[in-house]
Symmetry: C2
Subunit: 982 residues, 2 copies
């Protein structure tokens, strides 16, 4: 059996063979190998660096007294840094797995998007977590920034979670069972330390002492920075970090502390980073510098045919995140289409395909040459081209000389209304390869992702590295060259294919060749394979909810190139865990499809989709093991949580930050509670259920299970509340307070739940609007948009809340920071815009929506009004009044008061209108309005027919305008007549 110490030795040896130095772990406690200066400092600056080392990584917060099977306060990382990116780091990585004895072709090894950021040290990167049969075994990151400094060159960081890997390879279910060395278990060696250090971090570390340590360390770090010594400074930044983590695990970090401490560490880390670079530069960069890659030379241009041929262009990438893949497909389609349009090459319709590792454009019938073309070159105006005697001026002569033509070639053409001398040049169309090369090159450089990264290419930037280009026009290679990449006719198959790289004969056979070799380029084809395969696997015992799981299936589809659905099972015992726990683990953590019986009850099985022709039994067993471990974890947390009182869990909220300026989650829960009770009081819908539920709200954020799986917030609250003996309505209300969690989610059914839901969201919107601001563009880190949609949905669905104005609610939501009036106004506007958008999407005519939008604070009322308006607009009377009102709005000058002296009115029509207007009764909605204004229909028509408003007599004119202004104002406050189109 491969022992843990053997594994470390083998990995170290493997990376040493790849040119890595071996260094030692940091001799002060660190949370990850990344913090070791061999990573955090060495990735800075231009010097090359390759290193491998083991790092016992201390995570005080992960302390579990050694009881949790998968969680340790100190786990072992093996850390590799490749600076710069060698161009094939994934392949090198797979080689390291092989060095561990892992058959990477038999197993399902996957690169699953996982971006990394460590704000406390101003660092981030893009990359993946690597899955081995569903188990995350490695973090793989292209470092982009450290200490706030952009990295150039970029480093590849590979971090192996050794205990994880070994547990999988040794088929152990608890870390203590790991065979650390021959005949010696991990628990025997490290068990006591695990327990004692857990005790220290969770229970016994002296808080006051650590506060003092933090100050001393930070001061020492600052002093060293000031003196210009980055190495000791960095060491003290690490001590700050560890000390902070200990304070945190002891529950001693206030929100203010956290914000301040992170800011301080980030600042210190940034100064250390800049200082390090300066010092290395002063030292003359002892390790040299990385040579940037040379630009690629395009393939020789060869054109073997004159007929129309297919164009295929493949951009080979490292595994793209599914969301980026969708976007990239669209971009490729647009860029190719636009690019071709700018040429004069004849071609068929552009089709685009994509898998995680490739973006493909296929264009049939691309002509061999551009069409020939006449180009008009503009010369001087005719008037200035010829002298009075008709001889060419110097201007014309210059033009002729410049164009290399003779006077005989000159023609005259009217350009922008003025006759000009012109020359017409007949230009032959260029050959397809050259034209296509230019077009395709711009496709690659034009690609952009939501988050772009750099790799070893000196010019390109994209979601993940572009590693190869395949470009064929018919049989010929299109000589595209972009930065360091030159297109050829070779493409890559799965990395585990034999051979992994093949030549493509012609563009026409490209997709077929991929297909023959297992790569399913088309998203829809892959999706179908998955759906049908999954359904087959579970038939007849169960079924897959293809509709309900559509988003998940789409995601899975874009995680594989060659889908292979597999059926796995798990122990029935785990079915005693809440359904949501089980499915959250499956969907969110593992991308497994849940399987249910006819009644919708979960079956103890799942479908996972492997990539490529793996060893099914092996991969199944691996995935089953992973799920077992995760369920074991969940069961552990579930049991532990249930042993705690709700009050204990809620007390934990003090330790959770909401945002820097808005306090802890406990603060937020208190605000929600107060706001909910206040809303209920206003509406007279208070109840003991609401009171108790408000006391409990959000308590489950303090549970271990929700800490692990935040999406279970609410669900677990209900479960734990019931378990703790709370009344079912209370438990339900606490659950419903979290609803809706996303668009289309269930809404609170109880009034108490609805009130809490509103209070939650009002608090969130008001607080964030006042601090970080309302969302703009696509950035909405705190999901304010979703909260607003929740407000609208809950209000519309809850009759008891109809009288409640959300705009008032925003004002009621008191925050620990001042909320300026302008912020409230902006927030109301933001809410109104969301409602408008929502209603329009629901099919309401935009004019009517806008007409009722003044009531956006009461969306339930908006619904009512819109419905009434729908009826009203078919009512001739309403239409007539409305027309009159709008006419009045046009005629009456701004600022005219709706008042007049009736005695001045003389004309029967105006008197009639006056009478009618005066008799309009009160109304509160559109239906009431229709009824109320019905007496006006006739008089108002007559008025406009018979009365000339702008009489010469100013007194009369004023009275008439006043009367009209009164008409104008009918329904003001009910409908916004400006918008209503009749």
């Amino acid at each position: 059996m491969l022992t843990m110490q053997d594994a470390l030795t083998r990995l170290t040896a493997y990376w040493t063979d790849q040119g890595c130095l071996v260094v030692q772990p940091m001799n002060t406690e660190v949370g990850a190998g990344t913090l070791n200066p061999a990573t955090l400092l060495r990735v800075l600056g231009p010097e090359p660096w390759r290193v491998v080392y083991t790092e016992p990584s201390v995570r005080p917060d992960d302390s579990r007294y050694g009881e949790n099977p998968n969680r340790l306060q100190t786990h072992t990382q093996l850390q590799v840094i490749l600076k710069s990116d060698p161009g094939n780091p994934q392949e090198l990585y797979l080689g390291s797995l092989a060095a561990l004895g892992i058959d990477v072709a038999a197993h399902d090894v996957r690169f699953v998007e996982d971006n990394w950021a460590a704000p406390a040290v101003g660092a981030w990167g893009l990359g993946w977590e690597v899955w081995l049969d569903g188990l995350e075994i490695t973090q793989f990151t292209y470092f982009q920034q450290v200490g706030g400094v952009n990295l150039d060159p970029v480093s590849v960081e590979i971090t192996y979670g050794i205990e994880r890997i070994i547990m999988a390879l040794q088929e152990k279910t608890h870390f203590k069972q790991i065979e650390y060395a021959p005949g010696v278990s991990y628990g025997e060696v490290f068990g006591q330390s695990e327990y004692e250090m857990s005790r220290y971090y969770l229970d016994d570390a002296d808080v006051e002492a650590h506060r003092r340590l933090l100050e001393i360390y930070a001061a020492e770090a600052q002093r060293m920075i000031d003196i210009g010594l980055p190495v000791p400074a960095h060491s003290y930044v690490l001590k700050c970090s560890q000390t902070f983590n200990v304070l945190d695990s002891r529950g001693a970090v206030s929100t203010a502390d956290r914000a301040a401490e992170f800011a301080r560490m980030r600042r210190l880390a940034g100064e250390v980073a800049r200082l390090w670079i300066d010092r290395r530069t002063e030292l003359g960069l002892p390790l040299g510098t990385v040579d940037p890659l040379a630009p690629a030379r395009p393939a020789a241009t060869v054109q073997t045919g004159d007929g129309e041929r297919t164009l295929v262009f493949e951009i080979g990438t490292e595994e793209l995140p599914p969301t980026e893949l969708r976007s990239a497909r669209e971009q490729v389609g647009r860029l190719v289409t636009e690019g071709l349009a700018a040429t004069r090459l004849g071609h068929g319709e552009v089709r685009v395909f994509g898998t995680p590792r490739r973006l493909i454009a296929v264009v049939p019938a691309v002509a061999a040459r551009e069409e020939d073309h006449v180009r008009t070159v503009k010369g001087p105006k005719v008037q200035q081209a010829y002298g009075p005697d008709g001889t060419p001026t110097k201007a014309l002569e210059g033009f002729i000389r410049g164009q290399g033509v003779t006077l005989a070639d000159v023609e005259t053409e009217e350009l922008a209304g003025t006759p000009h001398v012109v020359v017409r040049k007949h230009e032959a169309g260029r050959a397809a390869p050259a034209v296509l090369a230019a077009v395709l090159g711009q496709v690659v450089t034009g690609l952009r992702a939501a988050k772009n990264m750099r790799w070893n290419d000196p010019k390109l930037a994209f979601s993940r590295p572009v590693r190869w280009l395949t470009a064929l026009w018919g049989d010929d290679v299109v000589p595209v060259a972009v930065s360091t990449l030159a297109a050829g006719r070779r493409t890559r198959l799965l990395r585990t294919a034999e051979p992994p790289v093949i030549e493509i004969a012609s563009a026409e056979t490209f997709l077929e060749t991929l297909g023959v070799n297992g790569i399913v380029a088309d998203h829809e084809d892959r999706r179908e394979l998955i759906v049908i395969g999954a359904q087959d696997l579970v038939y007849p015992d169960g079924r897959i909810d293809v509709t309900g799981e559509a988003a998940l299936i789409d995601q899975i589809t874009d995680l594989v190139e060659q889908p292979l659905p597999l059926l796995g099972t798990f122990d029935e015992g785990y079915l005693s865990l809440p359904d949501a726990v089980l499915t959250t683990v499956m969907r969110k953590h593992q991308r497994y499809l849940p399987v249910r019986d006819e009644e919708g009850a979960l079956l103890p099985m799942f479908v996972t989709v492997a990539n490529g022709p793996v060893d099914v039994e092996l991969v199944r067993a691996g995935n089953e093991g992973v799920l077992r471990a995760r369920y074991e974890d969940a069961a552990f947390f579930y049991r532990a949580d249930r042993e705690k009182s709700l009050a204990e869990m809620k007390a934990h909220l003090d330790r959770l930050t909401f945002t820097d300026r808005l306090g802890s989650m406990a603060d937020r829960a208190r605000r929600i509670e107060a706001l909910a009770l206040s809303i209920a009081e206003r509406l007279g819908i208070g109840s003991p259920v609401l009171k108790r539920a408000a006391e409990l709200v959000k308590f489950d954020l303090g549970s271990q299970l929700v800490t692990e799986m935040t999406s279970l917030a609410g669900v677990m609250a209900r479960d734990y509340a019931l378990h703790a003996g709370e009344d079912r309505p209370v438990a339900q209300a606490v659950y419903e307070a979290e609803l809706p969690r996303n668009t289309g989610d269930a809404l609170p059914a109880s009034v108490a739940g609805a009130v809490l839901s509103l209070a939650d969201r009002l608090d969130l919107v008001a607080g964030l609007a006042a601090t970080v601001g309302l969302p703009t563009g696509s950035s909405d880190p705190f999901a304010v948009r979703r909260a607003v949609l929740g407000l609208l949905a809950v209000h519309r669905a809850t009759p008891a809340l109809a009288a409640f104005d959300l705009f008032d609610g925003l004002s009621l939501a008191e925050q620990p920071v001042p909320v300026p009036d302008q912020v409230l106004a902006d927030s109301r506007e933001f809410l109104a815009r969301r409602l408008e958008q929502l209603l329009v999407e629901e099919g309401q005519p935009v004019d009517r929506v806008r007409a009722v939008l003044p009531h956006a604070g009461r969306p339930a009322l908006v619904d009512v009004l819109l419905a009434q308006l729908g009826t009203a607009v078919t009512d001739p009377g309403f239409r007539a009044v409305a027309a009159a009102i709008q006419r009045a709005r046009r005629i009456v000058p701004a600022g005219t008061v709706a008042g007049y002296d009736p005695a001045v009115l003389k004309e029967p029509a105006e008197v009639a209108l006056h009478d009618a207007v005066a008799s309009v009764s009160g109304f509160s909605d559109v239906a009431g309005f229709v009824t109320a204004v019905r007496p006006l229909v006739e008089p108002v028509g007559r008025f406009f027919d018979e009365v000339f408003v702008m009489d010469e007599d100013p007194v009369l004119r004023a009275a008439r305008l006043g009367l009209l202004a009164t008409v104008r104002d009918l329904g003001t406050g009910l409908l916004d007549w400006d918008h209503l189109r009749m």
Copy 2:
């Protein structure tokens, strides 16, 4: 080339193959791998443990900004723990060197005594430093105690100094040149850190912050102990240690701090140790327990001859320290002799031999059997044996039955004057093997060293492990078995011999067989080989001072079994270093013999003595490299020191502790200065030279070179003082202040030097007497005895000091602690006893010595008085007066006052004596006394002849006794008449 990282990998792999776990370095700064809990905690308690790990070891005090070629603030240790002792750890260790590619047969690998103690963690052990061609590459220790707890089982600790080893293997002269990884130097990787951390530790670390850290850490350690968590407690003890070291390297540790801090750390470490053992016991000793070795079974007893044969007994050990070897040889001789004497075996004279690895007793002509023997068994008294009727009593019957004899066998014998019944038993002598087995067994168990250790044997204890026994009587194995060892006929040769173990045919051929195989068992033989070999090597260019280096040659002789003298050379440039520096390095650090020319000037060469048939060129080159490095170091320190002012060096004395209660070396230097000036003032011998020298005294203890080589104190002072432009007499006086450094050393030639020397030694004696007490037995850690001998020697040799009383000096030597009168009295007595002993050893008659000993405070005066006394005792007049004085001392009752009424005296003889006594003039020495008392000779004789002192008249009697008392008191204060024998 073997890179440094490869070396770590290979060593780790080798030890892993030996069953060691691999663990990671400690994640808090430690000064040595020993402090890692994988050593310091795991060696405690009964669980087995084998481990190998790398430990970057931080020694703030070794910071040199990366400039010193051999010294780093962080060096790399590879640490191995074997618990328990596997029985062959040295052989395993040699295997590890082979794994590094070192040909241990070609190189000179030696185990040189080096005992280890870490008082701050209450730990000690015995072992060696391992030399590779003279280079210390490894520390090899049998741990005996940790945290004050005796270790059972004992652990073997092997600590490789990796940079050292690699520099040797790669033939680099500066650590920065080490090829750390292919194409990457150590300096390129770690140079910056070495510089910056040196800056931090030496110049920039915040002292106040570290003081606070120390308190926080210590408090946290104590809290964890109180809570019962040894693992975090240990971690905080380590943080204390590192913090203390930083404070120390910043020069911020006062003497009081150091003492207190060491005491605190020792106490904490002890508590952690005991707590760890308790916790492991509570946990059920997860790693099991070590099975103690089973007792050995003796060889079958076979006796093949009846004639006298030689007995040979070899006790095979691991390398004994030379001093222990001498003692052990004597013990073996004594134990074998006594053991044989207690048998009735005829035998020749016992001869004893010894090498570092064996103690051998050879006894010729040992009889095959003991002589037969009659034994008398004592029965009841005759009176109680027979009844009145002559029949046997029950007592006699019981005796007969008990002895298994009949009444006829009974005889009668007078025992202690009383007739007893006895039985005479004729006993045959036992066969030699059985008798010898018992005797030899007791030799092994009877061996004791000054410092004894335990190893894997459950019963034995000795200076180093006993690993084998060879015992032959003629052709036969003597069936000795002691604990786990059974003697046989196999002996071991050099570990690198082929084969390393051979069989011995017979006792008679034993020494010859050893000799044939290269082992020179006899000390004198080895010594001769070395002396002759060394002389041959240097002839005719130079010579070895065989007499002057006798002690060193003796030591070298006992460091090898098969001496092979080698000549090495060094660069002539190093001859510019002071002679004492060069020879100190050679003798003390390397055990090399210096080579001088006819005029006694050092030549750039040396002789070293390898053990066994090594590759001469290789070993020569290795030793030359070591010497080069050491001289390079010395030259580095020498240069650095010379760049400092004397004041700077002296300022450094604040950081050196003298003793806990007597302050720093700076305090001591101040005391010496004050005392010297005070002495000089009393004697009127003050001078500007003395004043300046007193200001400087001991300043060189603050130099780097003397810090490295304390034996150069004084020598370097003179050198540096001259270099700094001090007057030669001043420089000489500062040098002479340190004289004499040992018995027979030179003495101060200048008065100033002598005064300082006295002041130095008076301060030491007074201070230590008042704190740790005067030396008793052989224990004298602070060399108080040597200091006292120095006082005597200097006083006797310096006429200018003759008037100075050392007893007064002791009182003048003010200390930071009170010096009670009793301590002063004891110190005076101690000094007097040393002087007595010295003079007697010089051949002075003990009675005269004792007679003048009251003047021991002025030993120069003692010398004068003794010389005069030698003349005086041949003077009849002196003898007569002396006899009279002694007679008077006998006659006159104690308490009689030397006074009387002369008027009462009537007899002419008494009147004459009165007149003579009254006219005795003053005298200040024995010669003066002889002259002064000459007038008394006649009257005193006549008085005794003619006068009856004890007259009946009490008045007269009193007057006569008073007169005699006056005679009695003559010379009192000059001589102690009690002791003088005439």
